[in-house]
Symmetry: C2
Subunit: 480 residues, 2 copies
């Protein structure tokens, strides 16, 4: 085998960053593109995204959201219509200046996000209350030039995401939508990717440029850094006014509409890799695994082959009839040991081994990827595999919650906070609500308010920085 | 109602081009974006694309093809690696020259097609025969700056498409793949969109830049112009050599691989609109219709409402249980006549009308969109609606075939050809195989060889232009 096939060469604990990159590349999820800051998704990586997409599409549809398409080019003038918003993105924008040999009159931005374009269209499409609510989601990519070092899925200049944009007749309805989306996000991430999230609001300082407020879900990664997993913004009338998104109500009076926008990206895949992976490579939650069960037949000669293969195919068909995604690794000239390592590297949730001895014993060997446990299962119990997959999914979330708990710290003493921040973690620290304290903490520790969890309002404590009365207990952390 | 709600104001026969644009905009499939040459897809338009995408994905998967993701930015140096290929696209390329305020060292092209990028990656991923065949499809957009007038779905500077790129160990296997894809394309277009296509090869002059040969499917539009519906290219080793896509065979000898690429775009939606639409608007084939059956309840007072609505809901649930996509138009303050026009404009295949009199007669009224026929169906026969949808699908293809037949002309006299070409049509004309004749015909008539149909080889006729011995009978036509 060539060099490429060798497994992960560093430990997750020793060099988290290098470990992460090796898992991404060697499990063949993604690869670097020829342009710095850009990556390519290989089929196993894209398949995880497709699985998430399907789940979101079903949940969005139930919420009355439909999909649409927006072009990638936005005129500079449009992007600047909501000033603050534009200033937020300006340094990251890729600019198209030529088509063929012609210089363009107006520069065109590659979409960093589509509020300005979507709302220009919405203003044309919405006339009356009959046209509301208008809820459209767009599966596309966004482009934001990264100057920092690239990390596949976590920090790239082009990333896959969905961006949803809704318009409502009332503030109340728009705010309700913001929360409904956040709930969809939370449940999808927890149920499909087995990653626990904390939901709440961003501080004024950290909210989306142009939003009235931003709700967010945040997760803690095993290296103690926080990752923003998705955001859902209440835009109020901040965009509907400059873009003239207006509707005539039943009484024929014109009103500016109320809006929301929200998105998750392929960062979720990055989080999944970090939270569940181990020194042998990727560990996939069964629900999003391209292959859920791999069967490795074991034999040395034709006689063994004739005994083993019919049973292998029988089990394969049995599992497929239950909608389990199965693959038989019948590659010749490769040892079982090599194959085991290969599928462990790729994170397949369950490996089944069957050799002549297993045939005699009327049983198969099952190896679970997430805890590396082996057990045997009688031929008559093969049905149980779908239950085992469900158990794995549940246990992976449980383990991830426990892992997160060990690096979540209640703290009220600033000196202690400063001494512990280098090790990372989620720090629940009381805060007075003032941006001056938030700024100072960031400056001195590198930690920012990741989320003010719902229900964390608290006036009975003292701000960790200024010792004045607290208003809430946000999560402070250094982030990705 | 506002002006926007008025129906189609020109006849398909009188002003085909204006009729087409009105259908696209008024049926709310798409709208013009703020940048010239770009369009936005509204949910009803995107839903048709999603339906096609789902069908293709299933068929591609059966062929062993998986999906991946490629970034949109390609360095100029890479695009130029296969010279002829690059020259073909150069005038249409959008160039990114800045990120934020920084001028980029190398210009970046917005993907006009991804051969060069995909094969740069493939060269890294393929080492041995074990890695072949490699078959990946990409759902994305391509960008080609249009200087001619824009037509939604038919001619836009950014368009939705899929591009497939496969690599094989042998020429034979690659050529087989080219044909398998063309078959998938043909059946999907005929079965889902009810549009007949003619398959065959492009001439040397018209083939894809960089291909050894190009297979194509072409359709004739009602205005007599040809539309290229999809192409599948045999690339031979034209790319594998400059991009070094090589593999070690079982005997450990290195070989350049054999490649294919192929694509269809949202042009297919444009063709569907043109072939099936009528003076009342869009006509959707049931298989791709976002709504297959719309139910319009008819009543004047609460008494009527109480009688009608329970039955409406019963029928809705009945149909939904059979996976039929149903919508009940219970908008208040709008007349049944207004609603009928609205759904006819949007092309919904079946409209059901139910009023108090129908309740008494224990029957419903069914209006078929494609032939505008009305009939009644007893309450006990509602089951039949799924059969009727199938019949509509079949009849729409039959009608489209007949329509195409009336504008397909066997011709061997060049003067007659010249006199008829202005009216449009598919002209089956014998040809000697020489590019000089092809060039001259194009120059004098504006018609080009759209496709050399499979099986049209024929040495018994005389070239329509030079009168020398023919080699085949291609289809000549003016095209979109």
């Amino acid at each position: 085998m060539g060099k490429e096939d060798v497994g992960i060469t560093v430990s997750k604990n020793d060099d988290f960053s290098e470990w992460y990159t090796q898992v991404v590349l060697k499990a063949k999820l993604a690869d670097y593109a020829p342009v710095k800051g850009l990556i390519v998704l290989r089929p196993d990586g894209y398949s995880i995204w497709e699985s998430l997409k399907n789940t979101f599409d079903k949940k969005f549809a139930k919420n009355g959201i439909r999909n649409g398409f927006l072009p990638i080019l936005i005129p500079e003038s449009l992007l600047g219509k909501e000033k603050k918003h534009f200033e937020g993105f300006n340094p990251e924008v890729f600019w198209v200046t030529h088509s063929g040999t012609n210089k363009l009159g107006d520069r065109l931005a590659l979409r960093p996000t589509s509020e300005t374009l979507a709302y220009t269209m919405y203003a044309k499409w919405i006339q009356s209350w009959r046209d509301l609510p208008l809820k459209i989601n767009f599966w596309n990519t966004a482009l934001r030039a990264e100057i920092k070092a690239t990390k596949p899925f976590l920090r790239t200049s082009e990333f896959l995401w969905q961006e949803g944009h809704t318009v409502h007749a009332t503030q109340e309805e728009a705010e309700k939508e913001v929360m409904e989306i956040l709930e969809i996000y939370k449940h999808t991430v927890e149920d499909e990717l087995a990653i626990p999230v904390t939901t709440g609001k961003k501080s004024e300082k950290e909210k989306f440029v142009g939003a009235v407020h931003t709700t967010t879900m945040e997760s803690i990664m095993p290296d103690g850094k926080a990752l923003q997993m998705g955001t859902s913004h209440f835009l109020g009338q901040n965009f509907s006014k400059p873009f003239e998104v207006k509707f005539a109500d039943k009484d024929n009076v014109e009103h500016f509409a109320w809006q929301t926008s929200w998105g998750v990206s392929w960062r979720l895949i990055g989080a999944m890799i970090m939270v569940h992976g181990d020194d042998k490579g990727l560990v996939l939650p069964p629900k999003v695994a391209p292959i859920q069960v791999v069967i490795v037949p074991i034999y040395k000669n034709d006689e063994g082959k004739d005994k083993v293969l019919p049973k292998v195919n029988e089990i394969k068909e049995n599992l497929e009839s239950k909608d389990i995604r199965v693959h038989v690794d019948d590659r010749s000239e490769l040892s079982p040991g090599y194959k085991f390592n290969d599928w462990e590297l790729k994170g397949v949730p369950i490996r089944i081994e069957i050799g002549p001895k297993d045939i005699e014993k009327q049983s198969i060997v099952i190896a679970k990827r997430y805890n590396l446990e082996k057990s045997s299962l009688g031929f008559t119990e093969v049905e149980k595999i779908s239950v085992i997959l469900d158990e794995i999914q549940v246990n992976m979330l449980k383990n991830a919650k426990e892992q997160a708990k060990t690096i979540t710290i209640d703290i009220s003493d600033y000196q202690e906070f400063k001494s512990k921040i280098d090790k990372g973690g989620f720090f629940n620290a009381p805060w007075c609500g003032k941006i001056e304290c938030e700024d100072k903490i960031k400056e001195e520790t590198g930690a920012e308010i990741r989320v003010i969890p719902f229900g964390s309002e608290n006036e009975n404590q003292k701000c960790i920085f200024c010792q004045q009365k607290s208003v809430s207990v946000p999560i402070f952390a250094r982030g990705y």
